[in-house]
Symmetry: C2
Subunit: 327 residues, 2 copies
Amino acid sequence: MGEFELIQRYFARPQAASPAVALGIGDDCALLQPAPGMQLAVSSDMLIDGRHFLSTVNPAHLGHKALAVNLSDLAACGARPLAFTLALAMPTVDEVWLAGFSQGLFALADAHGCTLVGGDTTRGPLAICITVFGEVPKGQALLRSGARAGDDLYVSGTVGDARLALEAFRGTVSLPQAVFEAARARMEQPTPRVALGQALRGVASAAIDISDGLLGDLGHILAASQVGARIDTSIAIKLLAARADYSWADSSFDSKWALECVLAGGDDYELAFTAPPAQRQAVQAAADSAQMLVTRIGVIEQEMGTRLVDQYGAAVTHAYGSFDHFA
Amino acid sequence: MGEFELIQRYFARPQAASPAVALGIGDDCALLQPAPGMQLAVSSDMLIDGRHFLSTVNPAHLGHKALAVNLSDLAACGARPLAFTLALAMPTVDEVWLAGFSQGLFALADAHGCTLVGGDTTRGPLAICITVFGEVPKGQALLRSGARAGDDLYVSGTVGDARLALEAFRGTVSLPQAVFEAARARMEQPTPRVALGQALRGVASAAIDISDGLLGDLGHILAASQVGARIDTSIAIKLLAARADYSWADSSFDSKWALECVLAGGDDYELAFTAPPAQRQAVQAAADSAQMLVTRIGVIEQEMGTRLVDQYGAAVTHAYGSFDHFA
């Protein structure tokens, strides 16, 4: 099967009705036309075999995740998904893999009305590069730079379970089947918080998606906003979904371990965001409209750096890192 | 050196003044704002070590080429470059390589006022994925689908020399040093025909850039336009720049070989385009304004398929292919 037949069979689909997509797949360029008053939000992520996923992963899950991590960037700036391009390098043409990958990819794309408008296919070590486009009203994008001292610090959903699944794959922790499957679904099929991100426009003061770990990604908000943060670890630790039921935890898994997953685990693709205390009702309303749980885990402070405290306000020492592909 | 220091050192630059780039590098998304009445042209290409370039290539040339092949897609639809994202997978952090790569990349980007607005870096087998953005007045993009029977068929510049260089690298042809260096520059540092593409708006009826070979890429215009073409090989063969001086050619290089390079060689990134005969003066004016040579090599016909003829109109038999990553 040649390159063009491959594209035709697995990636060409009827043109979407979206008015923002003036021309889709099949020419030298796609043509996008944001509505008047809208800015185009753009993000690009590359997933590499052995770095971002295990080669044994279900290809439908991989197709889902490759788009999900990009949609998560749109969510973090409050943009509505419009379209994406896909560049795909594959060692061979594996039709079973392609069928699964494209099914997982398009299921998520369709759920968000996000149209594949172009890309590239080539032979090479498995690599997936997606660039995603969304629209956001001019001046309303959620940025990393808007956090102010006194703002509340929130996290959506649950975090740390993707890291827990990775550790189970690595054999450093042993989990009952049901706990493992739930954590594995978080790692392999993250849900981008697209509706929440849009609902937080005009409410949150800053936002980011958690891909490399809560502390590390929060650090980008703090650096861009020139502020610091204090986090209540007694609240944060509850964000690990797998910890809701302790019955499985044995001596290989203690509170420090759970906190490591929550604070330094990556791959959850939840949102970390800040908002002034006056916006607490608006934050809850945004969460309700997106049918999401949000948890207030701390506060933004003038003093730079991140301080972890227990429920009594006493300092908790830590040395949690953030994922870095080259460190 | 970590991921963020790497980006800071080699890829972060002062924000451009372009009004179309509302937000550049450093947040979850970049924000683009095409001018009123403009559409955003988008194209994405991935370059893989060993497939699209030799690992020994000068990194500055590779940085140039990675962006050039994308700018060439903008040229083919007549768009003005605005911005691009870069996703880069590297096996190790090689500072000499990064310095060269970024220098070559930004030299070309600056020449076209094209701003790096975001991307991704990760560890992995060397792979470069660039997505490029340009703007084009609504409804004026050059498409593949506009060729009509009776239109003239043109090619810009010279083609086939990139393929000649590849064959010299492979050892199938032996070239004098000066001829080799000139051909190698065409392969490693192609020039995207950005000014010509924009000058052809409202003049050309269809256009494409020649990346996989003239016949193959012309085939996309013919398929999209539901027409055929006739090419005068006695004119086409003159498009091989290296053939201007025959003195180097020995028995290993005959006319059939030269025609193979012209018709089936890839990697030249010239434009193939069509225009009605009534536009001949306008085509020449567009070429003059872009300081480019353009050559009329044939004609579009109702009958599907491509017919090669000699200067007397007699059929030339051929079996030239087009580059296909999976065939």
